[in-house]
């Protein structure tokens, strides 16, 4: 059943592309059907053992390993492996993909078949990169992932903001991601070649490759720093962050969720899966430096978020500072902070992507992202301000939500290893609260500057947002259910 997770969205996208000839509403129907099918399969994987007892499924159906030989001479297999960590990531991707589809349900795109083809293609590539353990296919999925995003931005990008500069921002994104993927390809090939010189076997399987003990030569250092650099560009971390804000600004109305929820998480996933297990030698060298980089990231992101006037820029800079906290907790090798990390990835993606979606909803009425033209929207809108308040509060860690409990775990872990630095770092919480409350105040309070009619969300949209709000509170109150059958040693 594992390859179905990759294959279903791909074929669903192609079917929805062809169905565009018959009617304009069929493509979204097929897209939603394929997403729901994937969701069902994923849930079956989650409660694997229970379902097997209840319905007597064949055990081979839910095998966690899958592999087909592709190129025998070079040891390239299409091998997928599934554990709890990747299951959570896939669960998030599928759910946020569903959010994108439902929230863009009423939009009239130019050619909907190709739009849904691109989105489903993107989702299948992301899931493939979360599942594959063969480095060749991991690279392949990451490389293909760039193109749907570029096409989505170019052809369905926001026309009203769009100027001639639009294409330049996409070029910026494209070049950044090309460079990072080429560096990754180089370091993958170097690692494989190193394994070949020692053992005389060509293989791309990471389970074998991670047994290599890398010495302190130039080439081995190049492998490790190459992996690090390519994943850091994907995350993004401060010196390489310039592609993120404008790419999000010019993206189509649903697409920004994909960018934030998945693309930045691929970098995190790659760091955890592929960098940490082989980096024993240089880990202690770079640990303090990376933690400092994370702290700089957090302060820089919050500072920029409090300066900017554009709503999407603010949200994307807050997202950059989130990735700083993630970077910090990855390199602070501590079991507490790792537990917090998993919770933080889930809850921060949910809260920030819901904020993006709500901001898109506001934009569809006001036609600006500019905060100077907003104000006093609380009087006009029914549901949106309340949800916006909840998610922005949870974004800076309100007690009771998942963000709070995860940040507490990360801070305690950080305190245990670097007490002085962590005391300095706790001030970042104030900045978080400051910038998000300032944003909230400028949008919803004060004088009403626009004349607007009331408008509501759909029932489906309200239900989805309520589900995510409920999920955040559930994680905040009972975080243990995330750790069901989860063991951190399995990641490495």
């Amino acid at each position: 059943m594992l390859p179905f997770l990759v294959v279903i969205p791909l074929f669903g996208g192609i079917i929805s592309w062809f169905s565009q000839k018959f009617s304009n509403k069929l493509p979204r129907f097929f897209a939603i059907v394929s997403i729901i099918l994937m969701l069902l399969i994923n849930i079956l994987f989650f409660f694997n053992d229970i379902f097997q007892k209840l319905f007597f499924f064949n055990k081979n159906l839910f095998n966690n390993n899958f592999s087909i030989v592709c190129i025998r001479k070079l040891g390239i297999n299409f091998s997928l492996y599934n554990d709890r960590f990747s299951l959570y990531m896939i669960f998030l991707t599928i759910f946020l993909g569903m959010v994108v589809l439902i929230f863009s349900y009423n939009e009239n795109y130019k050619s909907p078949g190709k739009f849904y083809l691109n989105i489903l293609f993107l989702i299948s590539n992301i899931i493939g990169s979360f599942l594959s353990t063969n480095l060749f296919f991991f690279f392949l999925f990451i490389e293909i992932m760039i193109f749907p995003i570029c096409f989505l931005n170019i052809f369905w990008g926001d026309n009203k903001i769009r100027k001639k500069n639009n294409i330049n921002y996409i070029k910026n994104f494209f070049i950044h991601s090309q460079i990072s993927s080429m560096i990754m390809l180089l370091s993958i090939l170097l690692l494989v070649n190193y394994y070949h010189t020692i053992n005389g076997v060509w293989t791309f399987e990471f389970n074998l490759l991670k047994t290599v003990f890398l010495n302190k030569d130039i080439i081995e250092n190049f492998i490790l720093y190459g992996f690090l650099l390519s994943f850091i560009i994907k995350m993004p971390v401060v010196p390489f962050h310039t592609w993120l804000p404008n790419t999000i600004l010019y993206s189509p109305k649903g697409n920004s969720v994909d960018l934030i929820g998945f693309l930045s998480k691929v970098g995190v996933y790659g760091l955890l899966r592929f960098f940490i297990p082989i980096s024993e030698n240089i880990f202690h060298k770079i640990q303090i430096f990376m933690i400092l980089l994370g702290i700089i990231n957090v302060f820089y992101g919050t500072f920029m978020a409090s300066i900017k006037n554009n709503l999407k820029h603010i949200l994307s800079y807050i997202n950059i500072s989130h990735s700083g906290i993630i970077l910090l907790s990855i390199f602070n090798l501590n079991s507490l902070s790792y537990e917090g990390l998993l919770l933080y990835i889930i809850s921060s993606t949910i809260s920030s992507s819901m904020l993006f979606i709500l901001s898109n909803k506001i934009y569809s009425k006001l036609n600006t992202y500019n905060l100077k033209k907003m104000g006093g929207l609380w009087k006009v809108l029914n549901f949106i301000p309340g949800f916006f308040l909840f998610f922005s509060l949870s974004n800076f860690g309100l007690p009771g939500t998942g963000n709070f409990i995860s940040e507490i775990l990360i801070f305690i872990g950080f305190f245990l290893s670097y007490p002085k630095m962590s005391i300095f770092f706790t001030f970042s919480l104030i900045f978080f609260a400051f910038c998000s409350l300032k944003m909230f105040h400028r949008i919803f309070y004060g004088n009403l500057k626009n004349c607007l009619k009331n408008f509501d969300l759909n029932i489906f949209e309200i239900l989805l947002i309520l589900f995510f709000a409920f999920l955040l509170i559930l994680i905040g109150l009972f975080p243990n259910f995330i750790f069901y059958k989860f063991n951190f040693l399995n990641i490495f």
Binding site: E143, L186, N193
Partner: protein, 469 residues
């Protein structure tokens, strides 16, 4: 027996000339040339085993040369089919075109089978003479006249230098077969004998000129810009294929690559052209000129694929598939250009390309053609679902496996430039511009068939992946 393929081609050339003398008819000469090409293909395919172990003074037959000559024949076949539908509309005398094409074919096939230096030289001269005619066949521009003159002058320079190199080698060895070179290199102490080094390196330089490697590339973008896409379809592929078939035999029989000097020489030129081809293509405005610069870097990749033979796992299959990929991509590109030339769109390709967005609306007017072009550009740039990616991957892993650091860095930089370049072109397909000049010019029935043919060829670029795996 072994002269049969050449005899068939020469017969079809002379028959064509007779037909022109008595009555000019496009269809008859077309059928004549098609028949000649098909007969040679039939002969090479079904009498391959008899040819393989024939010993001859002038020609050799091995699996590489037969593969390359079959590729050359199919390319010329496709070109003449495209040419027939294109020429049928013209109301000028066009029948000589097939004869020039067949001459070009004769030269390139004999070059790919050549074993002796005299055959090598004569076939190169045949190729250049027919090329000069073919560049300036339809176009009455200043550009094409200039390009053909330039090509003539510079290629004659290079062939004179080649004669000088051959003379030097003959002066020492007294024999002009390739295989004797190896014996003589072993007999004398090679490190003291600078003269042979000089001769071989002069010959290699002139070959590099003919293949348009980096420092000798300067007239090839002009040729690309000036000549019609119908001719570029075979010029961009056949010329290189024949030279590569020659080079593979030359390297394997003389074993000069075992000497570090020559190996480094070939590799330096290949990596320079890989890097600078895509770098210079970034600054071009004309799309055909851009493709000319990009083809320089592709030739560099091809040379690395040849150098990797017998040095890496899967190198042989990789070389086969690399050449297949190169040929299919170029046929699809220039074939689609030649179809588009009948429409209005093509008229402005020669002018500045990126400023005016010439390829805009192509997706909405010719959807099938634009999808195939999309796949072809992906495959040239080396982006995963196509076969071009696997080729790039093999070459990178070969370069890393042998610790060629400069080569790997140049490949990586050029691939970044290249993806950026082709991405820019692909994006411009989908622009919608309201312009009265851009109205759809309907294809005729045969042009639709050619369009479907191009589509199938480009789809095969993805499907080949499954055969290689």
């Amino acid at each position: 027996m072994e002269f049969f393929p050449f005899i068939i081609i020469i017969c079809s050339i002379s028959f064509g000339m007779f037909f022109i003398i008595f009555k000019r008819n496009n269809l008859v000469i077309f059928l004549n040339s098609i028949l000649g090409i098909l007969l040679t293909i039939y002969y090479l395919l079904f009498f391959k085993d008899k040819l393989l172990y024939k010993k001859n003074f002038f020609f050799h037959f091995d699996k590489f040369s037969i593969f390359f000559s079959l590729l050359i024949l199919t390319v010329i076949l496709i070109t003449s089919i495209f040419a027939y539908f294109y020429l049928d509309k013209k109301k000028i005398y066009v029948e000589e075109y097939y004869i020039l094409l067949l001459l070009f074919l004769l030269g390139s096939v004999s070059l790919s089978f050549s074993k002796h230096v005299s055959v090598f030289f004569i076939s190169i001269e045949i190729i250049t003479l027919s090329t000069v005619g073919l560049i300036y066949f339809f176009n009455n521009n200043k550009n094409s006249l200039e390009a053909s003159l330039k090509y003539m002058i510079f290629s004659s320079f290079s062939s004179i230098f080649m004669l000088f190199g051959i003379g030097i080698i003959y002066f020492i060895t007294g024999n002009l077969e390739y295989e004797n070179l190896y014996l003589i290199i072993n007999k004398f102490d090679i490190y003291k004998n600078i003269v042979i080094f000089l001769g071989i390196s002069i010959i290699l330089f002139s070959i590099f000129f003919k293949m348009s490697l980096f420092p000798f590339h300067f007239i090839f973008p002009d040729v690309y810009q000036a000549s019609s896409p119908l001719y570029l379809m075979c010029f961009s592929t056949v010329n290189k294929l024949s030279f590569f078939s020659f080079l593979i035999y030359f390297f394997s029989s003389t074993l000069i690559l075992k000497i570090n000097f020559f190996y480094n020489l070939v590799q330096i030129f290949s990596l320079l052209s890989i890097f600078f081809g895509n770098l210079l293509a970034l600054f071009q405005n004309n799309v055909k000129r851009l493709l000319g610069y990009a083809s320089i870097s592709q030739v560099g990749y091809l040379i690395v694929a040849v150098l990797s033979l017998n040095r890496f796992e899967l190198s042989e299959e990789n070389a086969f598939f690399y050449f297949l990929n190169y040929v299919i991509c170029n046929i699809c590109l220039f074939g689609s250009f030649s179809i588009l030339k009948n429409g209005y769109i093509y008229r402005e390709i020669d002018n500045s390309f990126f400023k005016k967005n010439i390829f805009s609306n192509i997706f909405y007017t010719y959807p099938l053609l634009s999808i195939s072009l999309f796949i072809v550009f992906f495959s040239i740039a080396g982006i995963p679902p196509t076969i071009g990616f696997l080729n790039k991957f093999y070459i990178l892993s070969y370069a890393i496996h042998n610790n060629f650091w400069i080569l790997t860095s140049s490949i990586i930089f050029s691939s970044i430039f290249g993806t950026y370049l082709y991405f820019k072109i692909i994006v411009s397909f989908y622009n919608k511009i309201k312009d009265e000049k851009m109205y759809r010019c309907r294809f005729s029935f045969f042009e639709n068939i050619l369009e479907i043919f191009i589509f199938i060829m480009s789809i095969s670029l993805i499907l080949y992946n499954f055969f290689i795996l």
